[in-house]
Symmetry: C2
Amino acid sequence: MKELIAKYREKGFKLTPQRLAILKFLDGNTGHPTAEDIYNSIKKIYPTVSFATVYNTLQTLGDKGEILEITIDPQKKHYDPNPNPHHHIICLGCNKIGDIFEDYSEALRLPNRIVEEFKPVGNHINFYGICRECQKKQKRRN
Amino acid sequence: MKELIAKYREKGFKLTPQRLAILKFLDGNTGHPTAEDIYNSIKKIYPTVSFATVYNTLQTLGDKGEILEITIDPQKKHYDPNPNPHHHIICLGCNKIGDIFEDYSEALRLPNRIVEEFKPVGNHINFYGICRECQKKQKRRN
DNA sequence: TTACCAGATTAGAATTATTCTAATCTAAAT
DNA sequence: ATTTAGATTAGAATAATTCTAATCTGGTAA
Ligand SMILES: [Mn+2]
Ligand SMILES: [Mn+2]
Ligand SMILES: [Zn+2]
Ligand SMILES: [Zn+2]
């Protein structure tokens, strides 16, 4: 927590109580929360916190490279408290998201015709699957 | 066009003029239109067409495996008239989308701890890059 | 310690994509 | 020609996100 404060103060990040609550929520969090998840959690301590604050803070943290926005659920944005490059698998039944830390970069060579048109800057693999829980539910239904 | 009609009639797909216009728009289209792109195009011929029809038709076509929904632009859904599995690169400047037909499946082995938790059903790689046009714009700005 | 102000917070409105509703219409089977 | 399951429509509803403009406050420097 002390480190958290020091880390962000160094970066010229104004540390308000609301922001600290958000940082604390994200710190070490291995999930992939939505803005709403974060809002609901912060609201317990700061009942007047607004969605705008949550979105503003997430935007700022994203700009600073402290979190990632992941484009995997077409319904809403998820945020990844772990900004190290990695991939994800999403359950097509319940949208549960899992981390995949394999490094596939060697294999992900782009064809020439693409490299001529785009300067590559990164990549992200969305794996799709059915989680164990949802597999059970499907069997029950049959 | 005749083939189009035959193909969909076979599948028990009721062929209305609006649907034919949508099918015609999508047939052989190598872009990645949004619902709005399609709506705007169809509206020229059927000015009373509604967004609901576009979304309904896209949903039905998706269910039939004739098109894909691609989750790459957090702002809006894009649809891919080419349902064969392939990957995409998106320009971080202008959101232009390019197709990548490389087959990386051999390399995309999932770690055991994931396979224990999820039954894999597919994957899709989002590459990110800057297109030539946007590279030029950036240089002008500097 | 205090005064200051750039930047943060807030409530609520606005925007935007998408889905829903319920009345009407129509393709195509009979 | 009749029938009807399914398609179309206008418009309302929903939901995620962004914007606005008034107010507040953390951190700096006198
Ligand atoms: Mn992750
Ligand atoms: Mn494509
Ligand atoms: Zn699941
Ligand atoms: Zn571009």
